[in-house]
Amino acid sequence: MPVFKTPFNGYSVKFSPFYENQLAVATAQNFGILGNGRVHVLQLGPTVTERAAFDTADGVYDLCWSESHDSLIVAAIADGSLKIYDSSLPPAANPIRSLHEHARECHGVDFNSVRKDSFLSASWDDTVKLWTVDRPASVRTFKEHAYCVYSAAWNPRHADVFASASGDCTTRIWDVREPGSTMILPAHEFEILSCDWNKYDDCIIATASVDKSIKVWDVRNYRIPVAVLNGHGYAVRKVKFSPHRGSLMASCSYDMTVCLWDYMVEDALIGRYDHHTEFAVGVDMSVLVEGLLASTGWDELVYVWQHGTDPRAP
């Protein structure tokens, strides 16, 4: 299976929604503490080749592909800015936009897959901002969390609904048409690092936390989780629902493993991959190819493999 070595520590990996064999990787130097960053656009094949790379002054913590434009990438930078790159243009012409409004590091970014025109940025300045590609300033700012917001995720069916996961131990659900959050889920006793919606049941949301567990919630009855998934040895950094199967989800954790779960099943853990030798920080499931997974970590490696196979096999 193809492996790609990045010069910096990996932070996030995302498959392109347009091309099955393209993916983008966000990396940051010196573990993201202090240093430069780089966005890689990779082409999958018998080996993984790099189509383009964009250097940044500060580490790149997250990125997402545009849902309406096949070569646009939005990157969340550790200096609080968002940079938009066009991978069809040479690096000298990039980035095409730089949006700097956050007061602190930008940690998460997500593109709206229903309306395909707007994206969210989650920042350590406790706010989430809504942007469109054509505007130089943010459209909305959502300021309610009491601590860093680590990730924001659009609902896959409702164009105006999104969720945010924060270090204040709550997940909030927002509607962009409303002034404030519409629901507050006190999901964990510790910081919540990631959240994602079930693509096949728009009321199910999963939250991943520092308490090593992933909890699955139904927003219609949010006092009690639908499922609590334990199995990771350390904080769970990212959770992602499968685009192809309703109850399948992938997660990566500081215990260096990537796990696959099916929360409807009694024994929810259905796969575990421990190919990384440092914190596994980014994971993604391809929308176009069923069962294709990608992960990256602080060991500066990007793996792409099919579920059920060994990521390290050549």
Binding site: P17, F18, N21, Q29, N30, G32, I33, L34, G35, N36, L44, G45, T56, S68, H69, D70, A78, P95, R104, A146, Y150, N155, R157, H158, V161, G167, D168, I173, E178, G180, T182, F190, Y200, D201, D202, C203, D211, K212, V219, R220, N221, I224, P225, V226, N230, G231, Y234, H244, G246, Y254, D262, M264, E278, V287, V289, G291, W298, Q306, G308, T309
Partner: protein, 528 residues
Amino acid sequence: MATPSDAPPSSTDEKPQNPVSQVTQPTNDDRQDTKVEGVKESSPTSVFVNSEPIREEQVQNAVKFLSHPKVRGSPVMYRRSFLERKGLTKEEIDEAFRRVPDPTPAVATTQSVVTNQDGQIKSSSNGQQQPPAQVLQPTPVGPVGSSSKMGILSRFHWYRAVFAVGLLAVSGAGTAVLIKNAIVPRLKSWIRKVASEEDEEGPMKENNAKPNVAEEAAAAAKAAAAAAADVARASQEILITKSEEKRYFEELINLLNVQTNEMKSMSNAVQKLEGQSINGRITVEEQANQRVSRTSSRQPYTNGKADADSSSVRSLSPPAPVEPSAAPHPKSYMEIMAMIQRGEKPSNIREINDAPPNPNQPVSNPRLAPKPKPWESNQAQNSSLTTFQSQESSNGSNYGDNQLNGDDTLPWWQRKNVRITEIETADEQKFGSPNLPSNERPVQRSSWVPPQPPPVVMPEAAAAIRQPKKSSYLSDDQLLSQSTDVTDELQRITKISESGGAVDANGQISGLQSAELPQEENGSYLET
């Protein structure tokens, strides 16, 4: 026909009128009744809004919390965050803030009853947070005055106690002196007067008796004065000893602090030597990932620091499974952190100008149209196969374009496929049997075959493999899941009891529903 009692037709009638209700589309039929009721109200129609009524008990708990003098000193944001973490909804939190006015604590139950009615009236209007002074006006001034005094008293009680003791001692001493100087001589003179009168009139016996009584009275008075003086002296001594004790206490605390600091530094040194990273400074996981400022720009939040400090005590003990123990960081990570905290900058950083060279250039046109998502075309869960096939055939041309994206004729998926199956069967691995049955994958895509998950060659072997897996590797997870089931039950029970049993029915029903779902729907790929 389209009568209001019919759920589906009425919701479709409402749809064109109220654009907000379009979010109610994908909900099940069960929800349609509540949706209709929701549409009749003006704002919350979607599933993503909290529709529970305000729970009075939670609001009262919140009011008690907010009235606590220590809480009053904290920023409003922290108070809100605490209540949110306890599970209160926005409406309940707003209601609690409304009930607790700023200047005085609303401890008296009479006050809360009065404000309760006001609060209910106000909350039904669904307004913003109103100044708390309005709510307090109808209450009588008396309890307010006394409660304010009590409030002041409750804040300074330690200071006040010392002052009161001093006051008592001084007054005791003063009265003793008074008695000595004024009252005792007066008593004596009165006794002498009486005695002299008796002398003039009565016999010697009476004279003897009276002066005896008088003398006894004088002696008793003297003794009383002496006792009072002793009491005053004793209380003074108590004061002195108390202040001495205070001093000793402070010295003790200082010594303890010094000791703990030394211990901390020792443990740091030990850990540095061992190269481990469970550091007393930054132990909460995301604190470790936060950036440390070089000069000014990036400093971890102070409250974050407080979290780190409080959890640092925890991390010194062996990590319990429930608590989030900090993952051991790579050695070079700790080196970089140490460098930065010393103020050095890692040498491999370059100066990069990443500003957009032409920020006003228009965005280029996309070359591909957006593709439909797998979940968008189908309504039912897990029935993506057939519809996906039809989608694929209709999008065949797009995929054809897609293929010529710098690729060889045979995509790498196909080439890899053969080897994958060989590896899979030959190399029985850690993960359970691959059980995705999506083997009837569509082949209508131009020349592209999606990578097939390796087929299960021998189901019995797969099952057999899974058995020892269960016993050795996944048994821990089973135990964990069992124990978490128990803890979940406990949590659920405590939550239900906390909320006063109100959620009980809902919790039960939803639990049943979610339990029934797995068996029915996922029989296709459920592992045995």
